[in-house]
Amino acid sequence: MLKVAAKYPKVQFLHGGPTVWKEGMPTNAGSYNGFIDEAQYIAGIVAGYTSKTGKFGFVGAKPYPASLRNINSFTLGARTVNPKAMTQVIFTGDWVLPVKEAEAVNSLADQGIDVVTCHVDSPKVVIETAEKRGIFSSGYHVNQSTLAPKGYLTGAEWNWEKVYTDYVNWLREGKSWPHMRRGGLRAGIVRNAPYGPAVSEKARKQADDAKAKFTDGSFVIYKGPMKDNTGKTVIPAGKSYDATDIWLESMDWLVDGVRGSTRS
């Protein structure tokens, strides 16, 4: 995209995703992304309260940093409620594999997992299969509550409407705009779905409290000491990484409490 942007200076090119715009790159280009893992953290809290077995399932596509971050944040959120929470990860191998996604949910349910969430292109199959198995689900990307009226707890959603409207307004007004735009719950780029019927009062309260902490900017998910699931210390005591820290964009480990591997 950068090559084409250099060729067409009158056109503005914006890329959504973890690749980062840096100084020196064409000024008619920019990148944007959201810290949806903050919303997954909240979802983890809600799941932690609702689960009876303390076992969670995550259906992923590939061990891609953004997915790993979602898995880790979800687990960390659940662990604030239940320190023994365990997340089982199943990677299907690709972003859209409906048969494998369905099989994954079935296998997870067979292992006593009662809350699943996912990071695949279309969570529809995961949510619907979870509902069929009678387990709880937490959504991703957009609101899937209509697919699982009983089991949907909450979800981590993008708020692209705000992002795009902002860009259009800035460009229209001729304002200078941030070439690298990232934000989470506080910036309003991501949000949580409304709580489903199965979410208890206590869960809602703790989740709302956590949301407030994100919104006032005081909360950091990734602070030491933190170990990964092989026992290695990935964040030493005393160190912490704010959500905007680039180090988090290259996450290649799974936190302690997650059963899964980042290598194929």
Partner: protein, 364 residues
């Protein structure tokens, strides 16, 4: 004249019948988009301008045509033997993996030896992959269409496994990818164009295999086998060896396409290799009636259609699948036109009617 059908009539047929089939396909496709609410003439115009309307579109077209020329050979060459091989996709991927692997064991070497090694590695790996299908066919009677198809799936799974694990470059974040072959080992662009040298490799590959098939004893022998295996065996033609060698060459072509995808486009192996060049290559081969020389213009045609696909989406509100429908229609019409060869009276040589009034039909 020998290029096309061995006779003036043959040449004329080989040009007009496909052209006619293309025209019929365009009409059918026009009806299809009209049903979808788009203006057929506008669509034709967009396809033309997206494919051939400007230097930019031409380059886009040539870029897309380049791998197709080589992958088409993977189907066209075994077809001479009467085999239907659809394994170009797998051979391309295996060739790409071999390319990355060899570049990683020659880190210090300079540009030209590495490029040569990469090309040889890609061709050997791809050749062996299809050679496997050919061997299974000859020695075990395993149907080559199905075995080459299964090998495609297996190659993709192998690639995903390797780039996600043993061959993975941990610094690449946005998708699991292998190590890079090294910037200085990359194949560059043809001067003055936005298209890489792979285009030249494709054209050369087609010409060389054409000469091989039409003008050598080897090629002649393969055509005998394609005509009638039993007769060929009885005539002493070494069918097994021909099968293996042809499949090795076919796979080498597709493997070379894999090498150029790595060394000229991506630099590393990942799922961006799996975009259907192999399957489109099958289409090119059939449309070119398995003639390696005809593969060149047909690949350009299909590259053009694909290049126009994005424009169709934006300018006419047609979904991207429209291009697949168009390809499907062209393919079906071309295949349905097969019986027309040799039957059109226009092309039949005029013969003085013998005295009993019966006009002998020209041998097909």
């Amino acid at each position: 004249m020998r290029l096309l059908g061995g006779s003036p009539r043959g040449a004329a047929e080989a040009l007009t019948i496909p052209a006619g089939a293309l025209a019929v396909s365009l009409i059918l496709f026009g009806m299809f988009v009209a049903l979808a609410g788009a203006n057929p003439l506008g669509v034709y115009e967009t396809i033309y301008s997206g494919a051939f309307g400007s230097w930019f579109s031409w380059q886009n077209t040539l870029q897309r045509a380049t791998p197709l020329m080589l992958t088409a050979l993977c189907t066209a060459l075994p077809a001479r033997l009467g085999l239907v091989v659809i394994g170009a996709e797998g051979a391309l991927i295996i060739g790409a993996l071999a390319t990355v692997a060899i570049a990683s064991v020659l880190p210090g070497a300079s540009h030209w030896p590495v490029i040569t090694a990469m090309m040889l590695a890609g061709m050997s790996a791809g050749g062996l992959w299809i050679g496997l299908a050919g061997g299974l066919r000859y020695y075990r009677g395993v149907n080559e269409t199905i075995s080459s198809l299964l090998l495609n799936y297996i190659a993709i799974a192998l690639m995903n496994h390797l780039v996600g694990g043993p061959m993975r470059d941990p610094l690449v974040l946005h998708r699991p990818s292998s190590w890079h072959v090294g910037e200085r080992n990359m194949i560059g662009l043809i001067p003055g164009m936005d298209v890489h040298w792979g285009l030249v490799l494709g054209v050369v590959g087609c010409i060389v295999t054409y000469v091989l098939m039409q003008h050598t004893v080897f090629g002649f022998a393969t055509r005998i086998v394609g005509g009638n295996v039993r007769a060929a065996r009885m005539a002493g033609v070494p069918v097994g060896r021909l099968t293996l060698v042809t499949c090795l060459i076919a796979g080498a072509a597709a493997g070379l396409a894999g090498t150029t995808e790595i060394a000229a486009v991506h630099g590393r192996a990942s799922t961006s290799l799996v975009v259907g060049y192999g399957y489109t290559g099958i289409l090119v081969a059939f449309l070119a009636r398995q003639n390696p020389l005809a593969v060149i213009p047909v690949a350009i045609l299909l590259g053009g259609i694909d290049a126009a696909g994005g424009l169709l989406q934006r300018w006419h509100d047609l979904p991207d699948a429209t291009v697949y429908v168009m390809r499907g229609i062209i393919f079906l019409v071309i295949l349905a036109s097969e019986p027309v060869y040799g039957r059109l009276r226009v092309f039949q040589q005029s013969v003085v009617a013998p005295s009993d009034g019966v006009v002998p039909r020209e041998a097909a």
